[in-house]
Symmetry: C4
């Protein structure tokens, strides 16, 4: 089993899932045609959900093929990890749909809104954990090419585990605080920056022996 | 006609079908937003159907490209077998939908539930028979690469024929015993293990001449 | 512009269209769950439409890549022909849907049934004309590889033009005779056989100079 | 990150979006089966929207891979530009749906029709601006292959920026003049011709040093 074949199948699933997202945005019904602007304004949460899910799958794709471009072989555990990774990537449109529908629901359903948010954030967290586990496996099982930077791969692993924890926490919080838990998502770039900074500051020894290989 | 081109088209159909499955999971209607947890709990059968159909297509993809990575050419019968293989792979989302809808149907419809299950299991059985036939054809028509293990290919052929029979039996049983026939599906790993064991035990002669090639 | 890139894009469109067909098969509504067998029996026309559209796209794909495997370059007219080819390949699911819905419609709508059939057969005819034109262009503009058989390509061109005429006639007939025009479709293999026979019998001069190249 | 990998992912998104368009064409409901011809005639705007959106995605794909065939590497800004490019390519089916539904809406909704048109034209404009920016970036950052024609790339950049401005203007006009703004779309070939003519006439110095490379 070559990395190319698994990489192409995963690429295809990411590309299809990212393009299917559009089918989950609510369309106006006959009665709502008269006031399209009002309909779209009320459904702005759906467009935000679409854009966010799109970005998430885009970054998942990038992380996946950044890794796979640097693998020289694929092991059974790496292959097995693709089952949850691709299952939840393919499932993301459903959770996006739930969140999108909920965001414009006016009835009495705080618990339902929290649940929809938790499912969306939880799916994201699982995707990130899978990516983190893939990077970790590649390091631990020695699957990287000769010219791959082990330090950069290690940082990527930490970044995905860290962001996964952040989104998992936001998923749990969504049950109690509802939509306020989405503020936590904005901390994602902060988590990334902190992890990159800490790795540079406290793990400098890792950098040295690789300097010739990096140029 | 090269194996690469047929392999890529099949890969694409499997990847699209596996990602389209998500469109078949029932979405809550306006009235059900208030109690999303209740809706999801009632529809848990749909999520199981989604996960199972996903796994089935994933294993179909793996079997297909494990075989195609080891073919050096493609014959007319191999090509013709792709018509039922891809037709039923593309059809699987429909049978998943039927089973998924039926699993949360409360009305009087034991016969309908059995039929939905039979269609799902039957589609799976056809997929497995097609895979078994592909492996068998590759062996009989001598299409394998020089470095492919004939013994392992033969075991794969037996495994797919055996699992196909199991699922075909469960499809027939579904008409009379309904959902209880799904317990038979859990025997799939047992069937695999028994076939692998029997092949190792009683067809050892096949192993010897290949030992050097396997390393 | 290389044949590979155009070929892969067309492959992708064919693969997606062939897998989207399943979404056009009518699903039972709540009230029909109780009698699933009755629903499926009534909708058998839909399953026939699905299988036929699947076969059509499969043969379109095969014709397309059989040709493209033997091209060494792509010209502007070849590229332009892909606009109607892919447009109507992508449109086929819609006409399949119309025909499928019509086949189980009990109301007073002979004219509508004829129209739905005419649209389906007309779309097929356009696909075949595009394929015929592609084969003809490849011959006329000298785009074939050195080891491609000009005679076989010429026969393919004639086959697609001939079948296109048959389906175009059936589309026109559908307006007056309705579903009886579908009997004409069964003549497709006959048309293919006659064209292949006539080419072999009356254009033998073309065969001779190529004999060494064919082995 | 190689151009091949990004190019293939973009190809896949374009191919999927172009094939998903068909799902957005309105299908007749039970009550409309009796008069299918009437239904289709009334919905002719939807078919025009489908064909136009198809053409737009086709040209987007062609522009994208014409460029990517001539890149030797990909930079971070080029990669970042793919986020809006692919996001709006994937979003196009939604705006096509809005325009399609609006075109056959008989109620009182001039403002809604203008908005639907504006969203469709605006999405197209964004796609063109992204393509223009990609061509410009490739020139400015020196990403082109040795045998790529800098002059032709420059003309492509101007063409996409120019057409983008035309469609952006039509999007703004749609709010006040409604459907009449679509006449502006017909000026697209004129804009292309003028830009190509002006580049040839007033930037001839660019042509000379490349003449040997062009043959």
């Amino acid at each position: 089993m070559t990395p190319e074949r698994v990489g192409m199948f995963s690429d295809a699933v990411f590309a299809i899932a990212i393009t299917l997202l559009v089918l989950e945005i609510p369309r106006p019904e006959e009665a709502q045609f008269g006031d399209l602007a009002g309909f779209l304004a009320e459904r702005q949460g759906s467009f935000m959900a679409f854009a966010l899910a799109f970005l998430m799958l885009w970054f998942s794709w990038r992380a996946h093929h950044t890794l796979f471009d640097q693998l020289h072989r694929v092991t059974q555990p790496v292959l097995l990890l693709h089952v949850p990774l691709l299952l939840f990537a393919a499932f993301l449109p459903y959770t996006m749909n739930l969140w999108s529908e909920m965001s414009s629901f006016h009835g009495d359903g705080e618990a339902s809104k929290g649940l929809a948010l938790a499912l969306f954030a939880g799916t994201e967290a699982i995707l990130m954990f899978c990516q983190g586990a893939l990077f970790t496996l590649a390091l631990v099982q020695g699957l990287l090419n000769g010219n791959a930077s082990r330090r950069r791969m290690g940082t990527s692993a930490w970044v995905y585990w860290g962001c996964g924890v952040l989104w998992a926490v936001s998923a749990v919080l969504a049950f109690s605080v509802g939509e306020d838990s989405t503020y936590l998502w904005m901390a994602t770039p902060v988590v990334v920056a902190v992890i990159v900074f800490v790795r540079r500051r406290f793990a400098p020894g890792l950098v040295q022996p690789e300097l010739p290989g990096q140029t």
